[in-house]
């Protein structure tokens, strides 16, 4: 006990020593300061819950706790064309809510000045659970996702540094919708400083909330047996037998990279190989989630198939008019070349129709109509 007192004394001395160094505080304050404004309070946290049957999220929420203000800022940034060089292409341009945040009707991504990319714009949903991003999985952290399309010359064609400068100068006189970003950053992060870390974190907060788990299939999982028709249930069984080895878990992806036998297009996109330079990764692309797949046409990394029928015809290796639609190369997925049978997955026409019926039960009408995810009125659509 005595020693604790001694220690306290030493610490007190130490404290005084520190004060004596500060010349400004030599004259004692005569009276306590009068508090006029309530002290600034941190934004209240927003509870984020995963659906019980989903795996745990990958994103580290402790580094970026969600707040209503942060999510709202993220939503504005997501839809604002100010992120692009031409001020008219936002994230929401190629990730449209009604198409489960893909670019409906566009096989290849396109952006500023109508420039064309090389890959199909992937869905932005359930990002919290994804260990990698983009078709080639080059990015591992959701906070590092937004700079990729922003700085891609054929997408948003802008530098993040310029975006920050532009955001700092808002509200812009004459803009159709007046957005005061310094004020929104202050609400979300406590001060009005706008920097890249905060911008990316706000976008991550918004993307964290884009969880799709209210499809008819989800109601079925939650115990409503009548949510699926007999045909859809039959399709579910067939799906589990033939497709779920890659499109596994309730997220409908095993997050792996696979070569599904697509004949390389003219540009000869090598997919995952460009990231790892590993020969075994040639022509491999990320296995996408199938949630909302009925809404996200066209399909595949280059959007070559416009219908689910065409996709299943590819996997079953019986596309009309072609001899062998499965392109054989050293990295072709073993599941598509089983010894002693025709390459591909054996499916009858009836099987395909049942599987497609099941896949459409993954459409999440609530997700694509949720006002919390929608354009606050600043976006542009092309």
């Amino acid at each position: 006990m005595k020693k604790a007192v001694l220690l306290f004394g030493v610490l007190l001395l130490l404290f005084q020593g520190m004060i004596s160094c500060d010349k400004a505080s030599e004259t004692p304050d005569p009276k306590p300061p009068v508090i006029t404004d309530p002290p600034p309070t941190d934004p209240l946290p927003l509870e984020w819950k995963k659906p019980a049957y989903f795996p745990d999220p990958v994103y580290d929420l402790s580094k970026n706790p969600l707040t209503p203000e942060g999510v709202e800022l993220g939503r504005f940034l997501f839809y604002d064309g100010i992120l692009s060089r031409t001020d008219n292409i936002g994230c929401g341009t190629c990730h449209q809510q009604q198409a489960a945040f893909t670019h409906h009707g566009h096989d290849l991504s396109h952006g500023v000045d109508d420039l064309l990319g090389t890959r199909n714009s992937p869905s932005i949903q359930n990002m919290a659970f994804s260990p990698t991003f983009f078709w080639d999985g080059g990015v591992h952290d959701m906070d590092l996702v937004p700079p990729v399309p922003i700085q891609n010359k054929v997408e948003m064609g802008e530098r993040v540094g310029n975006v920050i400068e532009k955001l700092r100068k808002t509200p812009v006189a004459g803009a159709t919708k007046q957005v005061n970003y310094p004020k929104m950053f202050e609400a979300a992060f406590g001060t009005n400083e706008i920097n890249a870390d905060r911008m990316m974190k706000a976008l991550s907060q918004f993307m964290m909330t884009l969880v799709s788990s209210t499809s008819r299939y989800d109601y079925f999982l939650q115990g409503d047996a009548s949510a699926l028709t007999p045909l859809e249930k039959q399709g579910m069984t067939l799906f589990k037998q033939n497709c779920a080895s890659c499109h596994s878990s309730e997220l409908f992806t095993d997050h792996s990279f696979r070569n599904n036998g697509l004949i390389p297009a003219k540009i000869n996109d090598q997919g995952r190989y460009a990231i790892t330079l590993n020969e075994a990764d040639r022509l491999k692309f990320k296995v996408p989630s199938l949630r909302n797949v009925g809404l996200t046409a066209p399909y595949m990394h280059d959007g070559r198939f416009t219908t689910l029928e065409a996709v299943l015809d590819h996997y079953a290796n019986d596309q009309s008019g072609s001899k062998d639609s499965i392109f054989v190369s050293p990295s072709l997925d073993p599941l598509l070349q089983v010894a002693g049978q025709k390459r591909g997955i054996k499916l009858s026409e009836m099987d395909k129709q049942a599987i497609i019926a099941f896949l459409k039960t993954l459409n999440d009408e609530q997700f694509i109509n949720d006002k919390r995810f929608s354009d606050p009125g600043i976006g542009t659509s092309l």
């Binding site: 604790a4 080639d136 990015v139």
Partner: protein
């Protein structure tokens, strides 16, 4: 007993700490035998000084070329002294981006170098793997990939996150690109989750008979030459015609091996 000991230790630590605080209050801190080393990077092409766009140079493949951009990272600097008395510059103060287009960037200053006669220097050409994957809050200044020089100079790949260690661009009639330009963007830190290309190279330059003499009253200036011709004429002869655009591809390791040899000592000025 153990408890008492820890209290004593804590009190003692607090006393030492307060003593150091008191000493920091005085105007004249106790001088420590430390000095300054500046390292100047002179970018050359063989025996010629590097000049953007105007001068024409010839590589070992006999190809004429001009240069329009040259940037490279220098990091993890270590000064070598006899008897293993090396001095490693603290990590956080050991990242530099040398740019031919920015004169100020070509001379770097290291403070608080222990007084000694140094016989050599070692550094990483590029950015070490640890920093390449560290939290972005630890990557500010010349490592700021979003609004700093890295972003301005496009020295970062965000599609496959990582720094570009060396960027050399120019024009050549031998280039097969539509605009006759060649592009060498070399990076690759070894990968985050899977092992990938590792183009981190260490340059080690022995000062020979010269010494960088650091004392509290004298600063040493080490003049290094960076010979761009070595990018083409190293262990691998690089032809602009055959390799006009080298970025994140396996061939890039040949260029990294080449530029690992491009630094040499000019002279040391002890002031």
């Amino acid at each position: 007993m153990k408890r008492t000991f820890s209290y004593l230790l804590l009190s003692f630590t607090a006393l030492i700490f307060s003593a150091s605080l008191i000493s920091s209050c005085t105007d004249d801190p106790v001088p420590l035998p430390k000095g300054i080393i500046s390292v100047k990077f002179d970018n050359v092409v063989g025996s010629k000084d590097l000049k953007f766009n105007s001068e024409t140079y010839v590589n070992a493949a006999g190809e004429e070329f001009t240069v329009s951009a040259l940037n490279y990272y220098i990091s993890n600097i270590k000064f070598i002294a006899a008897g293993g008395n090396n001095y490693t510059v603290p990590q956080d103060s050991s990242y530099f981006l040398i740019r031919e287009g920015n004169v100020d960037s070509q001379e770097i200053t290291i403070n608080n170098v222990p007084a000694r006669n140094y016989t050599g220097i070692e550094f990483v050409i590029g950015i070490d793997s640890l920093r390449s994957v560290s939290d972005i809050s630890k990557r500010k200044g010349i490592l700021d990939k979003d609004s700093g020089p890295t972003n301005q100079e496009a020295m970062y790949w965000d599609w496959n996150p990582g720094y570009i260690f060396l960027k050399l661009e120019g024009s050549s009639d031998s280039a097969t690109s539509s605009n006759s330009k060649f592009y060498y963007h070399i990076g690759g830190f070894g990968g985050l989750t899977t092992k990938t290309l590792n183009n981190i190279r260490v340059a080690k330059i022995d000062f020979g008979d010269q010494r960088a003499a650091v004392s509290e009253n004298a600063a040493a200036q080490i003049n290094l030459k960076a010979d761009i011709l070595k990018v083409f004429n190293g262990p691998t002869k690089v032809s602009i015609k055959e390799n006009g655009s080298v970025m994140f591809i396996p061939f890039s390791k040949n260029i990294a091996d080449n530029y690992a040899t491009m630094f040499s000592l000019g002279q040391i000025i002890n002031k």
